[in-house]
Assembly symmetry: C2
Homo-oligomer: 376 residues x 2
């Protein structure tokens, strides 16, 4: 993996760059659609590539480990081949889902024991075996096992949790460096900053993570319930420490506004289930603000879903039709909303990049953040 910065914004910390992987290039800043179990919910791979123009997608190690499992993935030759997706993939470590989804989890120094949320079967994730699972999945970028500190956490819990994440990281880095990729292309290993909402812990964590000299770095444990301003404050502190010549990835964030602010603070990569999850419930993101398509006001609005949108669905279907589908719980409604929202997110980061390149990002960002927070 190679990362190159094309332009640093002078009025903000934003930067435009490129990540080169053996599965293709990623223009940063970038948003990564979430393909939980090897599928971005309700969306075909060719729609992701050709219509939404996703440059990289995310897979969840926890889900893929449980289904279809390591054996099937390895025999398939990795996730790219299994799901027929030729562009880059990033996998999380599974830690987040173990803490949010799995049952009877127990954290020890060794790792985390848990019972599957599907059938209750018992499993253990360690910093080492997660690297192995991610080798089998074969993502281009793989994440270290961390404890995503819940919010709120008292100082002592947050400190202990961060220190455990750091000890796990040392083991993970070591295991990563002594193992090899399985399918003939390189994988990059990203560590994760924790430290909850405590500035000194975040700084300490960012310094520790930076020292590991990995190919990129991530910020975890944000957007987990803390006020948005606190998230931005932590992000600012952390980004000031994480090396500027490596990509910075803010995990699990967020709204279009969050992403623009994150870019302004020097972040390069984002992922979130919001575009598809909120889409299923009828929430559409547009340049003019958010639409709750279930509202009565759209019942007889036969205009296109989004005249500013570039995806096929934006011009093919009307607001009234989409409202009808979502209200009737028809599958096609979720599909349309998901494509629209993902396409919107991808266009948003693309436009952000263009404004960074032409030097007027900050003004544009401030205008957009205001517009995006409108409720239509």
């Amino acid at each position: 993996m190679k990362f190159k910065i094309h332009k640093n914004d002078t009025a903000s910390k934003a930067r435009a760059g490129i990540i080169k992987t053996e599965h293709g290039n990623i223009q940063t800043p970038i948003f990564m659609p979430v393909g939980t179990v090897g599928s971005v919910k309700g969306i075909h791979q060719h729609e992701l590539a050709d219509d939404i123009k996703a440059q990289i997608i995310l897979g969840n190690t926890y889900h893929l480990y449980l289904r279809p499992g390591r054996e099937v993935l390895q025999e398939a030759g990795g996730l790219h081949k299994f799901m027929n997706w030729q562009r880059p993939i990033l996998t999380d470590s599974g830690g987040y889902q173990v803490f949010s989804l799995a049952e009877r989890r127990k954290i020890t120094e060794e790792g985390v024991k848990f019972n599957s949320h599907i059938n209750g079967s018992k499993h253990l994730f360690t910093p080492e075996n997660v690297v192995e699972t991610e080798r089998i999945i074969g993502a281009d970028i793989i994440m270290a096992l961390d404890e995503c500190t819940p919010y709120p956490a008292d100082y002592q819990y947050a400190k202990n949790s961060m220190e455990l994440t750091h000890r796990w990281l040392k083991r993970g880095v070591e295991h990563f460096r002594k193992t090899k990729p399985l399918y003939g292309y390189e994988q990059a290993y990203f560590p994760i900053v924790q430290g909850s909402t405590y500035t000194d812990l975040r700084i300490q964590s960012a310094e520790f993570i930076a020292e590991q000299n990995c190919e990129g770095n991530a910020i975890g444990g944000l957007s987990v319930g803390e006020p948005t301003e606190v998230m931005y404050e932590m992000l600012e502190k952390v980004n000031a420490i994480l090396p500027s010549d490596k990509p910075r990835y803010l995990m699990g964030v967020g709204t279009p506004e969050n992403i623009l602010e994150g870019i302004a603070l020097g972040t390069d990569m984002f992922d979130c289930v919001m575009p598809t999850r909120n889409g299923r419930h009828g929430l559409l993101f547009t340049r003019q603000g958010t639409i709750n398509i279930k509202n009565k006001k759209w019942e007889k609005d036969f205009s296109p879903i989004d005249p500013d949108g570039s995806s096929l669905v934006d011009s093919q279907y009307s607001k009234a039709y989409l409202r009808h589908l979502i209200k009737s719980d028809e599958r096609l409604g979720a599909q349309i909303a998901g494509i629209h929202n993902l396409s919107f997110y991808l266009n948003l980061v693309k436009e952000a990049r263009e404004h960074i390149m032409q030097g007027d990002f900050l003004n544009w960002k401030n205008k957009m953040v205001k517009q995006l927070s409108t409720r239509l």
Copy 2:
């Protein structure tokens, strides 16, 4: 609507023809995907048109009447515009759903009263107001209100039910003839033969229906639980009476084998939810037979879903991947299976037509029926 027969098979009753509507031509025999509430479940309109190559789809009057309702459909300018589907549409009368889905239904001479299955609201369908609803929906072919006689029915019930359907038909035809289409293109009105599994009733009903001199005729109340051989027997008797210069539509049928046998008995049009519904549960139809993709044997089968298939999904995704999606209850699984199965059905009737045209339909049909009933 115009119907023209291009070729009558000499070894069977099969015929190849064309139905011309103002929304385009339909090559018969044809299978019509079911677009219940204005959407074929999980499938985009452009996929239906370009990949599945559907020539006509079906809409359910009961569902569309309840949601989005007549007012929205009328303001949209009809269902074609509302859902953005330019090719022909056929609507059933809603009778079938009133009898299978709605609550507290009560049949009177006037029509059928029922409570919505969605919110319990009270409604009345009459032969006349169903014509009006179908005028508003604006389908190219619209069906008369009938009572779909349940199976088994004793002789007296079946006779009374058929006679009610006939009296309703007289009123429906009269109302259809004195009303006009709303959107500037013609609509055709099809009556429905009933009579349960009683040969004399079926003959009596077919004669009555033929006398109405409508533009096409349908056979209802079959494939509702009776043995397949009884269905074929009734169909044979009825088709011998329904005029040969008008399309014959066998409602709600069926498996690929049923459709081929129906074609051999002189039927031109078919619809069924089986391709999408069974697809959602992992059942795939192929030329070699049916696949239950959930079976363990497909777990590591990384070959394409169907090497004989012509749809995009057939070559893009593997059996192992589809199995994983269906087992994980991922939406994309149902989407892929639905596209595959519908594309298979459309290819099957297309191929049947080619064999009718080249004069070797019966041999081909007999070979295919055997093959199709294999379980892979």
